[in-house]
C-alpha cells in the first residue's frame, strides 16, 4: 500500500463521523422519508419497505457479520498461529494454498453452495460467511507473524520469556496491523455477502433490495441499498481509524 489508502487525516475523520451520522439518520429516519419516495415513485402502492423495521434489519445484518467474523478471527487466527509454531509447520503450505485458492471462489457461489448442504435460513449464511472470512484472516495472520524479525524473537527469549509470553507479548502485538488488515478485508466482504444472504433466507439489509427487485419496487431497492452502502463505508472507515491507532501504538 504505497499509493493507495493515503489520504489526508481530515478526510478520514470526516468520513467516519459523517458516515456514522448518515447511517444513523438513514436507519432511524427512513420511515419519515415515505412522502419523498411517494412523490418520486407515484406509481407504487407501498413506497416504503415496512415488512420489517430498518433498525431490526440493520441489527440482524450486523449480528450476522459480527458472529461470522468473530468465528473467523478465532478459527483463522488460531490456525495461523498453529502453522507458524514449530509443531505445526508441516501444515503451513497446505493452509496457505487453501487460503489462496479459496479466495478465487466467488463469495456468492460459496453462499449458494451452502444451501444444498445446510438448507435455507440464517445458518447456511453464517457458515458460508465464516468460511469465506477465514481465508483473508489466515493469510494475514501467517504473513504478520512471519514478518516479526527473528532478532526480536531471540532477544525476547533471551529475556527469559516462555513461548506463550513471546506469542502474546511480542509476536501478536507486532503482527497486529497486518492481522487487522486481513480482518478488515473479511468484514467488508461479509457486509456485502450478508446482503446477498437474503436470497438464502437470512433476514438482512439485502431483503428490501431482493423484495424490491423481484416486485419491481425501486423505492425498496434504494432504501436497502442506501443503508447497506452507508454501513459498509462506516465499518471501513472504522477499520481505517483502528489501523491508525494500531500503527501509532506499535511505533511507541
Amino acid at each position: 500500500m504505497t499509493v493507495a489508502g493515503m489520504a489526508p487525516r481530515e478526510f478520514l475523520t470526516d468520513r467516519l463521523m459523517l458516515g456514522l451520522v448518515a447511517l444513523v439518520a438513514l436507519v432511524l429516519g427512513m420511515p419519515s422519508l415515505k412522502p419523498l419516495f411517494a412523490t418520486l415513485y407515484p406509481g407504487l402502492d407501498r413506497p416504503l419497505y415496512e415488512a420489517e423495521s430498518f433498525v431490526r434489519l440493520t441489527l440482524d445484518h450486523m449480528a450476522l457479520v459480527s458472529l461470522s467474523s468473530l468465528a473467523a478471527i478465532l478459527l483463522g487466527g488460531g490456525a495461523g498461529i498453529a502453522v507458524t509454531r514449530p509443531w505445526g509447520r508441516e501444515f503451513r503450505g497446505l493452509l496457505e494454498t487453501v487460503a489462496t485458492m479459496g479466495q478465487t471462489f466467488p463469495p456468492v457461489a460459496v453462499l449458494a453452495l451452502a444451501v444444498p448442504v445446510m438448507g435455507f435460513g440464517p445458518e447456511p449464511a453464517l457458515i458460508a460467511l465464516t468460511l469465506y472470512a477465514l481465508l483473508p484472516v489466515v493469510e494475514n495472520t501467517v504473513a504478520g507473524l512471519d514478518g516479526v524479525s527473528p532478532a526480536v524473537l531471540d532477544s525476547a527469549r533471551g529475556l527469559g520469556m516462555g513461548p506463550a509470553e513471546v506469542l502474546f507479548k511480542v509476536e501478536l502485538p507486532l503482527a497486529a496491523p497486518v492481522i487487522l488488515a486481513g480482518v478488515r478485508t473479511a468484514v467488508i466482504i461479509n457486509v456485502g455477502t450478508a446482503a446477498i444472504a437474503s436470497t438464502v433466507g437470512a433476514k438482512t439489509l439485502g431483503l428490501p433490495i431482493i423484495v424490491g427487485l423481484n416486485g419491481s419496487n425501486q423505492a425498496y431497492v434504494i432504501q436497502g441499498a442506501l443503508i447497506v452502502a452507508a454501513l459498509a463505508v462506516v465499518i471501513d472507515a472504522g477499520f481505517d481509524r483502528m489501523a491508525g491507532w494500531l500503527t501509532r501504538w506499535s511505533r511507541r
Binding site: G5, G93, P106, A112, L113, P116, F120, I209, A225, A229
Partner: protein, 393 residues
C-alpha cells in the same frame, strides 16, 4: 520385536484420516424419488460393491501415503493417488447413479452428498500439498490440476455422469446453460474493455503525478467498499431516469448496462493501483541506464517500464477477472443474465441441483481465469528474471 511405521507426511495422514472417517460416517450420495423431496443417504460401502468399486483403489494408496519417503517418487505417487482418488470418486458416483436409475422412475435424483465432498477434497488437498513439496512451479501444478479436470471432463463427455442430478438439470436446460456461460463471459469482457481503457492511463498518471493518486484512490477505495448488491441498486434509479428522458436510447435500470457499469467501477481499483505500483517498482538505476544508452522517453516507457511493471499489472488483472466473475453472478439479480440467473432461479425455486448447475461453473470460471493469468504472470516474470510477486501489494 516391534515394528513402527515411519510417519513422513503428517498432512497426508490428516487427509487420509478425514477421508477414512468420511467414507464410514458420511453419506456418499443422496437418492431422492424426485427433485423436490429430500433424498435418502447412500453410504460408500453400498456404492463400492461390484467391480465398479475398483475405481477408488487409489484411495487405498492414499491411506499409505503418510508413510512414503518424501522422495520424488514417493511424492509423485502421493500426487497421483490424491488426484486419481478424486477422479475415481466422481466415476464411482456416476456409475452408482446409473445403477440406482435402473428400476427407479425417471424423476428419481442422485446427487453428491457430504461424504463425496469431504473425500474428494481430502484427495485433492493431499495432491496439492505433495505437489508443493515436490517443488512444482505454477505451470506444473496447473498441469496436475488440468489432468484431474481432464479425467472428469472425459467422463462428462462420454455421458458416464448423465444419471447424476446436476447433469439431469443440465440436460433440461442445455441451451439456456450454454447461453448463460457465454453471457457471463461477455459481461466480464464488456467490463474489462472500459476498465483497461480508463484504468491503465489513470494508473500511469497516478505513477507520474502524486496528486492524481491522492484524488483517485480514496474514491476507488470507497467504491470497492460498497457492497455489489447496493451499487447495482443505486445505479438502477439514475439509469432508469435517464432511460425515461431518452426514450429509444435503450438505457434501462435493469439488464446488462448497469451490470457492466458497476463491474467496471469495481474493476478499476486493482487495475489502476497495480499499474501505478508496478511502475513505481521499476528501479531508478535501470531507467537511468536506459537513458544513458540513448533511449528516448517513449522507448524507455515501452522497452523498460512496461515489461518490468507487467507482472504486477497482471496480478491486478487477475484480481479484477476473479472478482468480476463473482460480481457478474450477483448482477443476475438486476436481470443481467449469466450463470447467476440459473443459480438464483434455483435458490428462489428451492431447486438445489439448479443452484449447483449455476454456482459450480461460476467457481470453475473464476478458477480458470485465475489459472490462465497465473501462467501469464509466471511467463512475464521469468521473461524479466524477477521473483514473482515482488512489489505486488
Amino acid at each position: 520385536m516391534t515394528f513402527r511405521l515411519p510417519l513422513y507426511n503428517r498432512v497426508a495422514l490428516l487427509m487420509a484420516m478425514a477421508a477414512a472417517i468420511a467414507a464410514v460416517v458420511l453419506p456418499f450420495l443422496g437418492f431422492a424419488p424426485n427433485r423436490l423431496l429430500s433424498g435418502r443417504p447412500v453410504p460408500l460401502w453400498a456404492a463400492v460393491q461390484g467391480p465398479g468399486g475398483l475405481a477408488i483403489l487409489p484411495g487405498l494408496v492414499l491411506l499409505a501415503t503418510p508413510f512414503l519417503r518424501p522422495t520424488r517418487i514417493g511424492l509423485g505417487l502421493t500426487v497421483a493417488a490424491g488426484g486419481l482418488f478424486a477422479a475415481g470418486l466422481v466415476w464411482l458416483a456416476g456409475h452408482h447413479a446409473t445403477e440406482l436409475a435402473q428400476g427407479a422412475s425417471a424423476a428419481a435424483r442422485t446427487s453428491f452428498a457430504s461424504g463425496f465432498w469431504v473425500m474428494a477434497a481430502a484427495g485433492l488437498l493431499t495432491a496439492v500439498d505433495a505437489a508443493r513439496w515436490m517443488g512444482l512451479g505454477a505451470v506444473g501444478r496447473l498441469a496436475v490440476g488440468g489432468a484431474v479436470a481432464g479425467l472428469v471432463a472425459l467422463q462428462l463427455a462420454t455421458g458416464h455422469l448423465d444419471a447424476l442430478s446436476i447433469l439431469k438439470e443440465y440436460a433440461n436446460r442445455r441451451d439456456v446453460f450454454a447461453d448463460a456461460v457465454l453471457r457471463h463471459a461477455m459481461l466480464v469482457a464488456a467490463a474489462l474493455v472500459p476498465t483497461l481503457l480508463v484504468g491503465i492511463p489513470l494508473g500511469v498518471a497516478a505513477h507520474r503525478f502524486q496528486a492524481v493518486g491522492r484524488a483517485v484512490f480514496p474514491v476507488l477505495n470507497v467504491v470497492q467498499t460498497v457492497p455489489s448488491i447496493a451499487l447495482f441498486g443505486l445505479l438502477m434509479a439514475p439509469l432508469a431516469a435517464l432511460g425515461a428522458l431518452l426514450p429509444g436510447s435503450g438505457i434501462s435500470g435493469v439488464g446488462p448496462l448497469p451490470a457492466v457499469i458497476a463491474l467496471t467501477l469495481y474493476s478499476l481499483l486493482p487495475i489502476v493501483r497495480n499499474t501505478a505500483v508496478g511502475l513505481d517498482g521499476v528501479p531508478a538505476p535501470v531507467r537511468e541506464a536506459a537513458r544513458g544508452m540513448g533511449l528516448t522517453p517513449r522507448q524507455i516507457f515501452l522497452r523498460v517500464d512496461l515489461p518490468l511493471a507487467l507482472p504486477v499489472f497482471l496480478s491486478g488483472l487477475r484480481i479484477t477477472v476473479v472478482q468480476a466473475v463473482g460480481l457478474a453472478a450477483v448482477a443476475a439479480l438486476i436481470g443481467a443474465g449469466g450463470l447467476g440467473a440459473i443459480m438464483f432461479q434455483g435458490l428462489f425455486a428451492n431447486a438445489l441441483d439448479l443452484v449447483l448447475l449455476g454456482a459450480v461453473p461460476v467457481i470453475l470460471l473464476a478458477v480458470a481465469g485465475d489459472a490462465l493469468l497465473s501462467i501469464g504472470i509466471a511467463a512475464a516474470t521469468s521473461h524479466i528474471g524477477l521473483s514473482p510477486g515482488r512489489n505486488a501489494p
